[in-house]
């Protein structure tokens, strides 16, 4: 179970979100830099794109490895249903539902709270995007933590 990609999928998503946050931040900064220095935009963008490509290749390889080792539990990156849902049997379904409930509870409070903060404080567009991505980061952390507690605790 420790090598099951479905357990690690939320961690990869957290990594992608952190990467996306960096991209958003640097792109907003390089747009500012571009006004004074025409060379600021391109190197940063190219560097970030290179990092994305490398991480995507590693991710794709990891998914392929999981599918090879677990042919009865294949996952796809291109499905609407999140691959991190584990419903192998009753306990796994129960654990997934508990984790999903925790995420739902988080959003019940996070969305209104975030809205109030954005309305009350002078947030830039970049700040709002990063705030939304932060919620995504917390969402995946909650789900991963709950599943880890439910499933790996027994190993």
């Amino acid at each position: 179970m420790k090598n099951d990609m479905r357990m690690k999928y939320p961690v990869w998503q957290m990594g992608f979100i952190v990467l996306l946050m960096l991209i958003v931040y640097f792109l907003s900064k390089t747009r500012e830099m571009n006004v004074q220095d025409n060379n600021g935009y391109m190197p940063t963008t190219i560097g970030l794109l290179a990092v994305i490509i490398i991480v995507m290749i590693a991710f794709r390889a990891r998914v392929a490895r999981h599918n090879r080792l677990n042919p009865d539990r294949k996952i796809s990156m291109f499905t609407i249903r999140p691959p991190e849902y584990m419903e192998d049997d009753e306990w796994f379904t129960h654990a997934t539902r508990l984790a999903t409930q925790k995420v739902y509870t988080f959003y019940v409070w996070a969305i209104p709270f975030f809205t109030v903060i954005v309305i009350s404080l002078p947030f830039s567009k970049t700040g709002i995007i990063i705030g939304v991505l932060m919620m995504g980061l917390v969402q995946y952390y909650i789900f991963y933590h709950e599943m880890k507690k439910s499933i790996l605790e027994d190993e």
Binding site: D89, E90, W91, F92, I151, D154, E155
Partner: protein, 71 residues
């Protein structure tokens, strides 16, 4: 609260958790959490466990406070 003597009966049949899990079509983790009392199985799974352990379902599972079965 549902109580059980799954671990005791499993040991009596000399099954590992994995073996019992395979017999009833679930994962080892499910057996583990049922034994710990942290998860109550469905009726279907409870019946499958009773069949695999060759016992009556009431011998395997009972409600907390049901003194007759706790002996």
């Amino acid at each position: 609260m549902l109580k059980n003597r799954l671990k005791e009966l499993r040991a009596r049949h000399d099954f590992t958790q994995i073996e019992l899990a395979k017999r009833v079509g679930v994962t080892r983790q499910t057996i583990g959490f049922i034994e710990k009392g942290e998860f109550s199985p469905s009726v279907t799974l409870a019946l499958k466990l009773a069949r695999a352990l060759d016992c009556d379902i009431n011998e395997l599972f009972w409600l907390e406070g049901d003194e007759g079965n706790e002996k």
